[in-house]
């Protein structure tokens, strides 16, 4: 038994070796540190996400102003508040108009003193927007109020949030909510089971390739290390000592990587507030991974490095006279390779059947991890199986295939990460496509007729407001009407007043002149039973006789996608002043080349009436965040793949450098460089094809099981399949392409030196 102190000495010696050894040694240490560091930073970031979201949620709860329950009477400690949310260039803006009703009126979080009429408090992001060149495009919505302060961080969801509190002395209880305190509303809606599963799977899919990547990163420079260890054996180190030295070296490199990861994470945290992703921005202070998870990462990564190193050393014999790969490759046994993914599948299926002894989230995560790990375990086996039978073909192909036959694991290892990432992405996107279908619906809106709908509350000077809209910059046409409700015998319809052109959007008018009145019926709807010459109640009780000349015309679907029965009236046929306050509604067409036109419309609407509602029309409305999340996932997958690509590149270069003499010799005897290039390409392409095939199978399997778990119909998301495999293949091509210049350099024929 070796004394403990000697063993420790071996470890320390190994650790020293991680950082000595000239330029090559440093390069290896730096590569490992960067590779591991990137992985560690990603892990820490992922660990911090739930906390960050919680913090954000907590702040959202604290400023909640949706009071449910009985109305309360005005008092010294109440205030009136109205939502005036808007959008600016696609970014949501949280707007509130406040009117304190007494000296003790509550202030929302982040606000020290309530704004008085004509004053506004803005979030820092909105303040920056206002003081920028674009500010003029938003300012009109604040009704000319002066900015007197900034909303504090505790009152905002994130640093990038656009928000304002506008003071008012005209807000009435009719248009507003009365509050005695902020917050304490309903607890924030948690993620539903479907969303929860999405989150879990997202984590698995994005993090598992990182783990695989870490496994590859801790092996950077393995070949040279083996040779160095052989030299140590020559001077008398025994096999166990060599293993300890290797372990020490791996752990030291990984620890350096963990440190680098910590630094990267700290730097990344500072960058976080600058980014707004999917309308989400996060304070640096919120990005705080829980301590147990940090400890787990810090301990697990070096442990992983040591384990991976020791496992990889089983395949080589480090002997005093050099390193030999075990001559007869380990027979790859299929059973245990199938065991892991089968177990994963079992866990997921059991979850789908409602059996979840571990708790459904943990079980889903474990199942997905095991299933995806199956790609890693099966890849070398399948590559072997395929390659064993291959022979013949052109020289480049022969060189590649023979190399794979000898050591498929080395090449397979390089593409593991890609395969796992692709498989995960396919499964996830499939789940997404299936789930997103539920949240996507046809709005029926017709954007060829109008792009924006503006509605004003009932007001006496409605026509003036409509004119202001039509005059807004970028508006090319306005379908402006005044509306109110008509009641006839307890049935309701819409009374709409507008010129002939406007009315034609709501009914199929045969001919029309000022003074005409039309009755429209929606045959599928039980609309008001209004007859020419009949009397109806308009608005709050004004009696109006429908002219005898009124003609019945078929209803036309309006640009919002609705069909409304009722009466269409030209201005000459009615005295609008007699009908009481009327709502104003306008469908606007915007100049296609003026993307800011909608902002001008919003300004005009807010200028005419702060309570106006502006709605942009879209053909389909997908529960909006889904589009963003889906896109974000692709971004995540690309980033992961690029990371893996970087590690792949290092691996490929390492393998090339190891063979530089042979390559130079092949060029010296007249081998075309293109032949060598192709052989390098084939050598990674074969495992990639196998890997991608596995990825497709496992991805589809994962997607199908996940869809079953959320009880969605199982459908193959072909675009996701294509995009994911395409991305994987592209990364491999990119890596091969990037390695070619090095190949050219290594194969300069004068590189053969017999020494």
């Amino acid at each position: 038994m070796t004394p403990l102190r000697d063993r420790a000495a071996d470890l320390v010696m190994g650790a020293r070796m991680a950082f000595t050894g000239g330029r090559d040694g440093w390069l290896r240490a730096v590569l490992t540190a960067v590779g591991v560091g990137v992985g560690v930073a990603m892990l820490l970031l992922a660990a911090a996400v739930p906390g960050a979201l919680d913090a954000r949620q907590a702040r959202g709860d604290a400023r909640d102003d949706l009071r449910m329950g009985e109305p309360i009477p005005a008092a010294a400690n109440t205030l009136l508040i109205r939502q005036t949310d808007t959008e600016f260039r696609g970014q949501p803006v949280r707007g509130r108009v406040l009117r304190p009703e007494g000296p003790a009126a509550p202030a929302p979080p982040g606000v020290a003193a309530l704004p008085r009429a004509g004053e506004v408090l803005v979030s820092p992001a909105l303040r920056d927007l206002l003081s920028s060149a674009d500010g003029a495009l938003f300012a009109p919505r604040l009704g000319g109020a002066t900015v007197t302060g900034v909303i504090g961080a505790e009152g905002l969801a994130g640093p990038g949030e656009l928000a304002y509190y506008l003071g008012s002395d005209t807000l009435t209880a009719d248009d507003a909510t009365r509050l005695a305190a902020f917050g304490g509303g309903l607890p924030g809606e948690g993620l539903g089971p479907v969303l929860m599963m999405l989150v879990v799977v997202i984590f698995v899919v994005l993090l598992l390739p990182i783990a695989v990547f870490l496994g590859a990163a801790v092996r950077f420079g393995g070949e040279r290390r083996d040779r160095r260890l052989a030299a140590l054996r020559l001077v008398g180190a025994d096999a166990a000592m060599v293993r300890r030295i290797a372990a020490g070296e791996a752990a030291a490199g990984a620890l350096l990587g963990v440190a680098a990861g910590g630094v990267l994470f700290a730097l990344g945290r500072q960058v976080v507030p600058l980014v707004t992703l999917m309308d989400l921005s996060v304070y640096a202070a919120d990005v705080r991974p829980p301590l147990p998870l940090v400890a787990a990462v810090v301990l697990a990564v070096p442990a992983l490095a040591v384990v991976v190193t020791l496992v990889s050393m089983r395949a080589v014999l480090v002997e005093p006279l050099g390193v030999t790969r075990r001559a007869t490759p380990v027979r790859r046994r299929l059973v245990w390779r199938l065991l892991l993914p089968a177990a994963g599948l079992g866990l997921l299926l059991a979850g789908a059947a409602g059996v979840a002894p571990l708790g459904s989230e943990q079980q889903t995560a474990a199942g997905a991890v095991l299933l995806l790990v199956g790609v890693v375990t099966l890849l070398p086996w399948l590559t072997d199986l395929l390659v064993r039978r291959l022979r013949g073909g052109p020289v480049a192909w022969q060189l590649a295939v023979r190399r794979l036959q000898l050591d498929s694991a080395a090449s397979a290892r390089l593409v593991n990460g890609v395969a796992v990432a692709v498989a995960g992405t396919i499964g996830l996107q499939m789940l997404f496509a299936g789930v997103a279908g539920r949240f996507t619906f046809d709005t029926g809106q017709d954007t060829s007729r109008a792009q924006v709908q503006v509605q004003f509350p009932a007001r006496p000077d409605a026509a003036v407001a409509l004119d202001r809209l039509a005059a807004a910059s970028g508006v090319t046409a306005s379908i402006a009407t005044l509306t109110t409700l008509v009641t006839a015998d307890g049935t309701h319809g819409m009374l709409r007043i507008g010129d002939c052109a406007a009315l034609a959007e709501f009914g199929r008018l045969d001919r029309c002149a000022d003074g005409d009145v039309f009755l429209v019926h929606d045959p599928e709807d039980r609309s008001a039973d209004i007859r020419p010459g009949g009397t109806v109640t308009v608005g709050d009780g004004v009696r109006w006789r429908v002219p005898r000349a009124a003609r019945e015309v078929p209803v036309r679907t309006n640009p919002s996608g609705y069909r409304q029965g009722g009466v269409l009236v030209t201005p000459g046929a009615v005295d609008t002043a007699r009908l009481g306050p009327l709502h104003a509604e306008a469908y606007l067409r915007l100049a296609a080349d003026r993307p800011d036109a909608v902002e001008h419309v919003r300004n005009a609407a807010a200028g005419a009436d702060p309570l106006a509602s502006v709605l942009t029309l879209t053909e389909t409305r997908q529960a909006n965040q889904f589009v963003n999340v889906q896109r974000g996932l692709y971004v995540g997958a690309v980033v992961t793949l690029l990371l893996i690509g970087a590690s792949m590149l290092v691996g490929v270069l390492e393998q090339l450098r190891e063979r530089r003499r042979l390559l130079a010799m092949l060029v010296a005897v007249g081998t075309r460089r293109s032949t060598l290039g192709w052989s390098v390409l084939w050598q990674s392409a074969v495992p990639v094809v196998v890997g991608l095939a596995l990825a497709v199978v496992f991805g589809l399997g994962l997607g199908a099981v996940l869809l079953r778990m959320v009880q969605a119909p199982v459908a193959v998301a072909w675009p996701a399949l294509g995009i994911s495999t395409g991305l994987g293949a592209a990364v491999v091509l990119l890596v091969t392409g990037l390695s070619l210049p090095v190949l050219w350099r290594l194969t300069r024929p004068d590189g053969i030196r017999t020494e």
């Binding site: 022969q398 060189l399 036959q405 000898l406 060029v667 010296a668 005897v669 007249g670 017999t754």
Partner: protein, 226 residues
């Protein structure tokens, strides 16, 4: 004497401060076995690489069959090496993944000969070099002497006009070394190939028809001097 096949004129080549060649001149005639002798580091390999179009001299010319190698493109020089030259190095020249037979067939396949035909001819050459029995083995599984004979077979399989051999016996014991030299020179004589043989061993050089001494990057080719 007939026209030289390969002529080097006043070659110079430096690696940083090291002057590997400092005025080397040389002629190789068709079918002759020429030994390049000199102590280690004298510039023999560098000269061989320049002669074979593997490296470019800093100055001076190499003419093969009257053509200046410097005027050929990289692809043309590759083709030349593939089709007109053969190479034997000290060690590590066989592709470890390929079987010995495939290694010998490799130059033919690079010259676009079909696989079946290439392997048939390769098998003949293996037999001729008395290593038919290793055809199906990988280079890692054969002895050094067998490996070198496989390498000689590979160098000759395309029936090149010049075989460049850089210390072909350097890693062998004398018995195996002699055997390789005997087979190499016999096969070269049969096919009419010239051999440029780099060696520092006199017993190996004794298989040549003529020797050229390289010292400090300079040649003493008595024939060129004359």
């Amino acid at each position: 004497m007939n026209a030289p096949l390969l002529v080097a004129e006043d070659l110079h080549r430096s690696f940083g401060p090291t002057r590997a060649l400092a005025g080397a001149s040389l002629r190789v005639h068709p079918g002759e076995v020429l030994a390049l002798m000199g102590s280690s580091g004298s510039g023999k390999s560098t000269l061989l690489h320049c002669l074979a179009g593997i490296a470019r001299p800093d100055s001076g010319r190499v003419l093969y069959a009257g053509r200046d190698l410097a005027t050929l493109s990289d692809a043309e020089r590759s083709a030349l090496r593939r089709e007109e030259f053969g190479f034997v190095f000290q060690f590590g020249q066989l592709v470890p993944e390929l079987t010995c037979l495939e290694n010998v067939a490799l130059p033919l396949r690079l010259a676009r000969v079909g696989r079946r035909e290439a392997e048939r001819r390769a098998a003949e050459w293996l037999a001729r070099l008395e290593v038919a029995e290793v055809a199906g083995k990988r280079p890692g599984e054969v002895s050094g002497g067998q490996g070198q004979r496989v390498a000689v077979a590979r160098a000759l399989v395309t029936r090149p006009r010049v075989v460049f051999a850089d210390e072909p016996t350097g890693a062998l014991d004398s018995l195996n070394g002699e055997r390789v030299m005997r087979l190499l020179t016999a096969a070269a004589r049969d096919t009419g190939a010239a051999v440029v043989l780099v060696t520092h061993e006199a017993r190996v050089a004794a298989y040549s028809d003529r020797e050229v001494v390289v010292r400090d990057g300079r040649t003493r080719d008595l024939e060129v001097a004359a």
